[in-house]
Symmetry: C2
Subunit: 353 residues, 2 copies
């Protein structure tokens, strides 16, 4: 590591300009600057060496020019992207963090980041007996999303019928495994044969299908879900996709079903979101459709962490990551999410230590 | 009354054929038959003299040819329509009902009905110190819908901001008054100046607007609801309308808001329902959208009845009915619901006693 009084070269991935439609790799450009690896005198800031960066679908909305209505701020064109990551503290003016600590939380898409706004939001990593990259996924925001989304929002009961879209992704693969742990029947959809195989053979889903091979999603659900495995329909839908999939699922929901509305990745790159036409079924089937976001649950992170880590250590939960090597691979990795190129949780390794 | 061993003339309103699009008066035809005012020997049936018939939006779906997916059966072309009504028992083989009892529940659109299927579902009217017609509205299905929809589904708290569409209708006028009783701020939308005046001057809404005069519902909500009265947005939306109104409301909901999805009258006559485009806001605003139907709550009817009757007797709740005279006026009354011609709960008087 460089002497902390010197400035070091700091590679970055910078947002070129606001994006409309599908993001392209060229919307993000490599850049270089320098950074002093020391916090300003008297500040509570920390300087981080970034190890793993997380590519998450919600980041797409931060590439839009804000109209003031979004739940998170837009990125600043000309500045590095910001996202969840796992980092090592290399200097700290904050009483909770010291040099050498590992943390996860919001950091920059760059080698080193000075976190001077809201360093309190960083979470110190207590356990390093699991891969550090897991704190971008199974033990980070996607894990919190899956855990509280399933256990709190879905009100699941043993024996119920669960359908998950984008099921091999960072969140879906966990929801399916939580549901199996509870004794539910689980069907998932994903976008390739490889992913469908993962769902069935690695994550223990009861059934899975490739939605890209299904011209009629309602028929696919009837075939794969309602008639074969879930004769009375779907009790719980964990919604990551939106649009046509939601319309098809509504047709196949059971009375008093629950829809945990986690995300709608099929809609993020559209100028105008698709219309959902079957909402009247929410009345007739007495469906509860509930949106949620992970950060409402961070105060319960320790409970989630103990449960999930224990299950990882006992090999009762597995996690598949799609690891891109090097900061320079980050734009392609992020763009790949929206084409479904990632298999499992998309991580970018900036440095291994 | 005729001697019960004789057959009496029985006027009926018969469904001509299944309906597509907006129903017309001519989809229902007056007819005549005869009925013996005596239940078959040994049966548990009852014979009813119908006094008041209820026109309700849900009846539209019973005019469709069933595709097996609806929550209620279709009407039978060539047979009288069936709906909620208030009736007097003129003969009974059922131990719970005797001649002269008043009941409310499902009956035929005719002078007299033989109820031989499921007479158990009729509810005996305990209190006649309120208008009997109220058992088609404030003390019947719409009342149960408003009461449990508001108190159970909306999870309301004093001081919250409530918006109600179709607010002067059979259900909406009650939801608004329940919300005011609890200390909420209440805004409603309706389709005429007369109805808006009712909302403000008779039902005690804090504000109301005529949606037919608003080319941009989002702007109307911002003006009438969000900025003026509900600066932080809508906590509770009681949804009777669907479609464009739902899309506009989603834009104006507050974080952690609740949408009680009661009905979607704007959609019932469309070949394909309108698409709702703003559902991603369910995620970002952590909205709970929950469908419900009154008949899931009938086992709690006595609790509702005591509360609501007491408030009627104390003049703390008022109820506006739109009364059509005579069975022959029923088709126009029902059709009028979908043009918003009714002012308040639409009732048809078949006979006053």
């Amino acid at each position: 590591m460089a002497n902390s009084n010197e400035e070091v070269e700091n590679k970055q991935i910078v947002l070129r300009d606001y994006v409309s439609g599908f993001p392209k790799e060229t919307d993000m450009v490599p850049s270089k600057t320098t950074l002093k690896l020391k916090v300003p005198e008297g500040s509570k800031a920390v300087v981080l060496k970034n190890l793993y960066l997380s590519c998450d679908p919600y980041m797409r909305s931060r590439m839009n020019k804000s109209d003031g209505s979004s739940y998170i701020h837009s990125f600043t064109p000309g500045s590095p992207l910001v996202g969840y990551g796992v980092s090592k503290v290399v200097d700290s003016g904050h009483p909770d963090f010291k040099n050498g600590d590992y943390v996860w939380g919001m950091t920059g898409w760059e080698d080193y980041s000075l976190i001077d706004e809201n360093p309190d939001s960083l979470i110190k990593i207590k356990y390093t007996d699991v891969p550090l990259s897991y704190y971008t996924g199974i033990l980070g925001m996607p894990g919190v999303t899956a855990y509280f989304g399933f256990y709190e929002i879905c009100s699941p009961k043993k024996g119920e019928y669960v359908f998950i879209s984008a099921a091999s992704g960072a969140v879906g693969q966990l929801v399916g495994q939580f549901a199996k742990l509870l004794g539910c029947y689980v069907v998932g959809s994903a976008g390739s044969k490889e992913k469908v195989d993962l769902l069935k053979n690695k994550f223990g889903f009861d059934e899975a299908f490739n939605y890209k091979e299904e011209p009629d999603l309602n028929a696919a659900l009837k075939r794969h879900v309602s008639y074969l495995y879930f004769p009375e329909g779907i009790d719980i839908y964990f919604e990551n996709v939106g649009g046509k999939m939601l319309d098809a699922v509504l047709l196949n929901m059971r009375n008093h079903g629950r829809i945990a509305t986690c995300g709608m990745i099929s809609q993020y790159n559209l100028e105008k979101p698709e219309g959902v036409h079957n909402l009247f079924l929410v009345v007739t089937k007495r469906i509860r459709m509930q949106g949620f976001v992970a950060f409402d649950y961070y105060h319960m992170y320790p409970k989630f962490l103990e449960f999930t880590r224990q299950h990882i250590l006992e090999n009762k939960i597995v996690y598949v990551e799609d690891v891109a090597e090097g900061l320079e691979s980050a734009p392609a990795a992020l763009v790949g999410l929206f084409a479904g190129r990632n298999v499992g949780k998309q991580v970018v390794v900036v440095a291994r230590e």
